[in-house]
């Protein structure tokens, strides 16, 4: 195992972490900050991916496709917000879970009716399809750099928005004590609608950007939901910084688990045991990490609320 | 501070990040004493009560009640050892009736709460205890009211009754007069006076009328430290206490 390899895996870990943050970003806003448990967030992610893939295929423009995907998803989200989500803000988490679980069921059937049950094609933009040479020995997928950039940009933007803008303060105020925020003159409903739309836009962005490197199919939203929640919870609900750190941590631990754990175990354990144990442990690394963090810090790494 | 004190706290320390909220506090409460704790806002009074009751973990120091070491005990174990408390914010079970509230408190101190096969409503002794508690705090007329809909003063009394169910030897009261009008305040003062016979009391209160009327001894906290400790007249006349807390024109 040479230095380049370790460096590359480190990069992969960070890259995966940023990717996770990108997936979790919208949820950080809606669940973390607004305290609304929206399981159907994954459905918005799926919508973004499908629309972007279809538009990209039809138009050939990736940037345009991403823009259209965001616009349309936000539109759908706005309708859903008016019809359903708006009535959920003041309800408890369980009601939110129930209702948005219902939304998932509806969304999956809707996508199946519109685009069929098979995974669809989400081409990589031609210019970014190949690798770039980061170091002489180290090619890196160009498209992944885009994902990393997007993850970073979203992280910074979200951090500033939540912690250093008045909108962020008003959202937090409205989320923790809606009545008092209204007494202070905040149009909480409007602020929430805006934030939900922004969350939807981020979900759509993530979906549209992830499409080219993954499977665009029904159920893709549910598959990212758990890792996204894990990231938010490890970081401490309500903390953008926490989510960011947690995403990188999960990315690194997960990658390290996959890259280094099996060989390490092979070195110290009998081969058959190592072969069974290594991948099994690597597979649950994320959950072990979460359980360990919560066992010692029951409110996550950066507790934001008591 | 005599060795025979009912309750003793030695060198208590609590930090919140960089803030030293409790700064090596020594405190003793004698049997039958009402010991008032006053001090400016944010001086660390509630923190001290939370440290004593075990709601917050100590960063240093030790506690004992009646010779029993409390330092390592969990909150509920301290209650068992005779230390009971009320909260700064009224903390009753708002969706239940007054009676249910009292039964819940009574149950904690009579037999195991792990019984799950028999109906609680069949236990007459619990009912008797609950009724006696209601009588003590003058709520016998409101047994079937939902606690959350009671007037504020009555909720406060209920809160005290819940704490009394433990038959404490030391009762911690954090601003029991808060939110009460003059009339209710008088009732609360009377109630506390009545409790004197049953238990020693550590009383936090910003209502100086009540404090000066009730307290046998007053300790003043400021920036987490004990600034002064003594009887009412001593405290009233203490210039530093006047400066940081009482102000010059004390209310009647």
């Amino acid at each position: 195992m040479d230095a380049i390899f370790i460096f590359e895996q480190l990069l992969n870990g960070l890259g995966y972490g940023l990717m996770l943050f990108l997936l979790a970003a919208g949820l950080t806003l809606v669940f973390g900050i607004m305290d609304t448990m929206n399981l159907a967030h994954g459905s918005l992610y799926m919508a973004g991916a499908y629309i972007a893939a279809k538009v990209h295929e039809a138009s050939g423009s990736f940037v345009g496709a991403v823009a259209v995907a965001i616009a349309l998803t936000v539109l759908v989200a706005a309708v859903v917000e008016v019809l359903v989500i708006r009535r959920l803000y003041a309800r408890d988490h369980l009601a939110q879970v129930l209702a948005t679980f219902g939304l998932i069921l509806i969304a999956d059937d809707a996508v199946r009716a519109i685009w069929g049950p098979s995974p669809i094609l989400a081409p990589t933009p031609a210019a970014l399809a190949g690798p770039v040479q980061l170091l002489p020995e180290l090619p890196y997928p160009a498209y992944r750099l885009v994902l990393l950039g997007a993850g970073l940009a979203v992280a910074v933007g979200l951090y500033v928005l939540v912690n250093h803008t008045r909108t962020g303060m008003l959202v937090r105020a409205g989320a923790s004590n809606r009545v008092m925020a209204e007494y202070m003159g905040v149009r909480v409903g409007r602020v929430f609608s805006f934030v939900f739309a922004l969350g939807a836009a981020l979900a759509a962005l993530a979906g549209a950007l992830m499409g080219p490197i993954g499977a665009v199919q029904i159920g893709m939203g549910e598959a990212i939901l758990i890792p996204a929640l894990v990231v938010i919870v490890i970081g401490g609900i309500g903390s953008v910084r926490g989510a960011f750190v947690a995403a990188l941590l999960v990315g690194l631990v997960d990658t390290a688990g996959r890259a280094f754990l099996p060989p390490a175990l092979r070195a110290v354990l009998p081969p058959s045991l190592a072969a069974d144990l290594g991948p099994a442990l690597a597979g649950i690394a994320m959950y072990v990490l979460m359980a360990a963090v919560l066992a010692f810090k029951p409110a996550g790494l950066f507790p934001a609320r008591a | 501070m005599s060795a025979a004190s009912l309750f003793q706290a030695r060198g208590l320390v609590k930090r919140f990040g960089g803030l030293l909220a409790t700064d090596h506090v020594d405190l003793a409460v004698e049997k039958g004493e009402i010991h008032a704790l006053i001090g400016p806002n944010g001086a660390g009074k509630s923190t001290l009560v939370n440290l004593i009751s075990g709601l917050l973990p100590l960063d240093g120091g030790s506690l004992s009640l009646d010779g029993v070491e409390l330092t390592g005990l969990a909150p509920h174990q301290r209650v068992r050892a005779g230390l009971s408390r009320c909260f700064q914010v009224t903390s009753v079970f708002g969706h239940d009736t007054v009676l249910d509230n009292l039964l819940l408190a009574a149950q904690a101190h009579a037999g195991s709460s792990f019984r799950f096969l028999s109906r609680r409503s069949a236990e007459k002794e619990l009912m008797d205890t609950a009724l006696a508690l209601a009588e003590t705090v003058d709520l016998a007329g409101a047994l079937h009211r939902i606690a959350g809909t009671l007037p504020h003063g009555a909720q406060r009394k209920l809160d005290v009754a819940l704490a009394l169910a433990a038959r404490p030897r030391l009762l911690l009261l954090d601003e029991p007069m808060a939110g009460m009008g003059p009339e209710d305040s008088l009732q609360m003062v009377a109630l506390i006076e009545k409790l004197r016979a049953q238990t020693a009391i550590l009383l936090i209160e910003h209502d100086m009328d009540a404090v000066f009327q009730l307290a046998d001894r007053v300790s003043v906290l400021d920036y987490g430290r004990v600034l002064a400790s003594g009887d009412v007249d001593y405290i009233k006349g203490h210039p530093e206490v006047q400066a940081v807390y009482l102000g010059t024109d004390t209310e009647t």
Partner: protein
């Protein structure tokens, strides 16, 4: 002194679900006037205030603020008209820092340029400056109370509504608040205040309304109230 009525309330009835608490209140608060709302516990003071600021829908009656009907208006709209409240129970935001409490809602709703700024608020409550980075749930009870008052002032309201604002404050701070309210009054701040320290209110307020079971049992000036101690014991339990 003759005041233009800033707030008028006519035939106001309100309550919670089936239980009615207010039974037809009529009163005005003039511009620049300080009016105290008195009464024993549970007589409907907080309910009146909640109804005024839109936290509770009036069952009957009309409320006008600066000529605009506000019965039935939403709380946030009323607030933006220039009503600020220090509510019972402080209601600080657990996830906002002290500083954020004071800048998030900052406004100049009374249209004056020399209003409350962050610095002036810190000067009023130095304790808050010391705790600027603490979140609402990391404050002592009294600190929260100071914060609630400062937060209301930060909007520079046309009407300031205080519900037990001196609750849980140390005597020195309480005095500070009274002085501050007096200064505000001198500046022409219209104020509606509920508090248990009747003597202080007699010094501060222009007029008093005594609530008894959801009705105005008595109203009059400070001089009249001060003179009639029988009122005190009958309605206020003092």
């Amino acid at each position: 002194m003759k005041h233009e009525p800033l707030l008028t309330c006519r035939g106001l009835e309100a309550g919670y679900g089936a239980s009615q608490v207010l039974f037809g209140l009529d009163f005005d608060v003039g511009a620049g006037e300080v009016v105290a709302l008195l009464g024993r516990n549970g007589m409907g003071k907080s309910t009146t205030i909640k109804t005024l600021v839109g936290g509770l829908r009036a069952k009957k009656g009309e409320i006008h603020f600066g000529g605009t009907p506000i019965h039935g208006a939403r709380a946030d709209a009323i607030a933006r008209l220039g009503v600020a409240i220090v509510p019972e129970g402080r209601q600080c935001f657990p996830n906002l820092t002290v500083r954020e409490h004071l800048v998030a809602f900052a406004d100049t709703r009374n249209g004056r340029r020399d209003g409350w700024t962050l610095d002036r608020l810190y000067a009023l409550f130095p304790r808050l400056k010391e705790r600027a980075g603490h979140t609402g749930n990391q404050l002592s009870g009294g600190e929260q109370q100071m914060l609630a008052i400062a937060r209301a002032l930060s909007t520079n309201p046309r009407l300031l509504v205080l519900d037990e604002a001196t609750e849980g404050l140390a005597p020195v701070i309480r005095d500070e608040i009274w002085h501050c309210l007096a200064r505000l009054k001198a500046d022409g701040q219209t104020t509606l205040v509920v508090d248990k320290y009747v003597e202080k209110l007699v010094q501060l307020a222009d007029r008093h309304l005594i609530l008894e079971r959801g009705r105005i049992a008595w109203s009059g000036t400070s001089v009249e109230l001060d003179a009639d101690r029988e009122l005190w014991s009958r309605y206020l339990g003092v």
